[in-house]
Symmetry: C2
Subunit: 410 residues, 2 copies
């Protein structure tokens, strides 16, 4: 807890006035009441209380117990609320505004953070060429590392929405079937190859009707914001189950997300051009057109195990963009709901220290990581994994994407 004025955030803070990510919190003295908050420095602004006290036109949305009503309100309202927040937190704001806000900025250490939105459908993509190539080499050593479709469409699958959990939730090592190639029959027990996947997630606000594809140019109209994701994976369970219908129990036990959803607007300065396309794309996926914003985001992720940095995956190196993924996901007429959530797939860069999962970092367990407390191939009970990330902001500062923390419980 800091005694400093919460209205003043240092210039190098990742959560200054150009970020303003949204979350849901409660306090110990009112534990059952969930409230919307905005992170500002190391404080949380009680958004509903501020909206009522300062007379926001959107006070009804901001006093809800989850982000979903605000998500459903659509891009014009998102912009109005963000502009209002920036006025409130302007260093030159009037004295009354400042005196109203000061007591509504609660130290982060005094609040409990919750899952910020109700997840509708959850889709996980597979958008890093480096990751897909590495995994292909490991899982199918005798074939082409990339499947023939990989460069033609962003491969994805539906995950379990009901087990998306907020950062800090302990991750119980899953039980399951696994069979090594040299074993006759599968055995049952705790996963022996528990892994992470460092990803970036996108939260859908504005819904669509069945049969209404969303072109890349409408990305901003539907996607509210961005968070960090750890898509925990039991590699032994996954390897045995995934042919022919894809990952199921190897992934469905838990997916952790950061407690903060950074608005898309806060990442305007982080827009970047994705890698050159090596294959011609069908029109709905083609992003060479002048009318389409650069689809990449220069988000820099750090993966730590027990406080030791083990990887720094660059999200800007992803082959498929979030706008392409949204266009693909809806091109068959599938509708979007408020709270739909899709993740990028493991973020891996071209370098060894940029790989976003242990499967790649240890090359299938053959090259253990050397950590201060010993070697690691996959996660051991008690290990704590932390993902953090930031992106360049409009004034040279860093825009923080918060953190995703999870400790393995045996």
């Amino acid at each position: 807890m800091s005694a400093a004025n919460p209205l003043i955030v240092p210039e190098d803070d990742h959560f200054g006035r150009n970020n303003l990510p949204y979350g849901v919190f409660s306090t110990a003295d009112d534990a059952d009441r969930r409230r919307l908050g905005v992170r500002y420095g190391d404080h949380v602004l009680d958004l509903g209380a501020a909206a009522r006290a300062l007379g926001s036109a959107h006070a009804d949305l901001l006093t809800a117990p989850s982000l979903n009503p605000l998500l459903a309100a659509g891009r014009p309202v998102w912009s109005e609320v963000r502009a209002e927040l920036r006025r409130w937190l302007d260093p030159d704001a009037d004295e009354r505004t400042r005196s109203v806000l000061a007591p509504l900025l609660l130290p982060l250490s005094h609040v409990t953070l919750h899952l910020p939105f109700e997840v509708a459908d959850y889709v996980d993509f597979y958008a890093s060429e480096h990751h897909a190539t590495n995994v292909g080499r490991l899982f199918r050593p005798n074939g082409d590392p990339l499947t023939p479709n990989w460069k033609h469409l962003p491969i994805g699958y539906h995950g379990r929405a009901g087990t998306v959990v907020v950062s800090g939730t302990p991750v119980v090592r899953p039980l399951g079937q696994r069979k090594a190639p040299d074993e006759e029959v599968p055995s049952f027990g705790p996963s022996r190859k528990l892994d992470i996947e460092a990803e970036v997630g996108f939260v859908v606000g504005t819904p669509t009707r069945l049969g209404e594809p969303v072109p890349q140019t409408a990305f901003r109209d539907h996607v509210f914001g961005v968070c960090l994701v750890n898509d925990w994976s039991a590699r032994d369970v996954q390897a045995w189950e995934y042919v022919p219908l894809g990952p199921f129990l190897g992934k469905s036990f838990a997916t952790s997300v950061s407690a903060w959803i950074t608005p898309l607007d806060a990442l305007d300065a982080a827009r970047t051009t994705p890698p050159p396309r090596t294959h011609a794309l069908l029109p709905y996926l083609d992003d060479a057109d002048d009318g389409i914003e650069p689809g990449g985001f220069d988000v820099r992720i750090t993966v730590s195990i027990n406080g030791e940095v083990v990887s720094e995956p660059p999200f800007g190196a992803m082959y498929w963009t979030a706008a392409q993924q949204l266009a693909h996901m809806t091109v068959n007429g599938a509708s979007l709901r408020t709270g739909d959530f899709y993740a990028s797939g493991t973020v891996s860069g071209p370098e060894k220290h940029q790989r976003g999962c242990l499967l790649e970092l240890t090359w299938g367990g053959r090259e253990p990581l050397k950590l201060p407390e010993g070697e690691r191939t996959f996660l051991e009970d008690g290990d704590e994994v932390t993902l953090t990330a930031w992106a360049p902001g409009p004034e040279g500062e860093r825009i923080g994407l918060g953190e995703v923390v999870g400790r393995i419980v045996g």
Copy 2:
């Protein structure tokens, strides 16, 4: 509309007093108000109005606009509500009960039926050995038809919950990428291989906490009831996209379900023993134990295209049971939510006329079906597909599972 007394249902009706499936309806004069109903003969009992008029202890659950509050209430309440309904509709019920109910039984032709529950997560299995073998032969002609894991675990994957629609919803032919083996690059357009999959679905009521597996013996505590499912599939889209992460856009455009959820209790007389197990099962899947109810259900499905019967798949022939599927789905600690919904996978029997999809019925399009209006390999625009099903009831009658109807719109 029938002028007959709605309190008297013929003995051979599929929706008599031993069935009593639940649904959600509205009427034209009050179109925005969704109400719970129970099907009785060719009428719908307005459940909320009946509960209030007759003083049910569960009137609060029964006046909700969706089944979810009743689903969440758990097995003891489900049994109490069912017993109450059976008392109300007893031919020997008192005169007051009969006079209260008569005006609350609305002809089916006068109501609009809606999706009966809010779908949480949707999982689709692959539980028919006949179907999996046929598909394996068609998709991987040079390999073993069954993958090595098939006899060891019920293979499944998550589908799109947001595009589960109620019977009667038109199905728009999906657009997508498809590439025939002899084509150099994929092309884009309406699916040319639009198919059906006749399935049976299970609706979860009682939720669980993360990390709490559901053994087969607890199946009845968590599963509320059963419905019919048509898992529409674009085979050309699916074939191009599904390696390595499974079906995605080939399935996500629509999944149709019957408007009626038949309570598990109504299917007690339909319980049947699944086929002999050819491989030893791990303990959590082993269903040879005396403590486990027979896991199969003798549900007989009929598939019609434009009124012509094309197949009669027997659900009793499924290799994996719904109780095994629930145990598998949660064995890694994945939690259940009220409204979770899982489908059996295509129901195919050993005979040609028992195959539950066109891919099998026409052997990949090589053996067209001969219908009065012409040959069919896959569905054409304007085709209407109807699934119906029944199961033996406790008194020799038939328990109807309603119908799933969908017309293809180009």
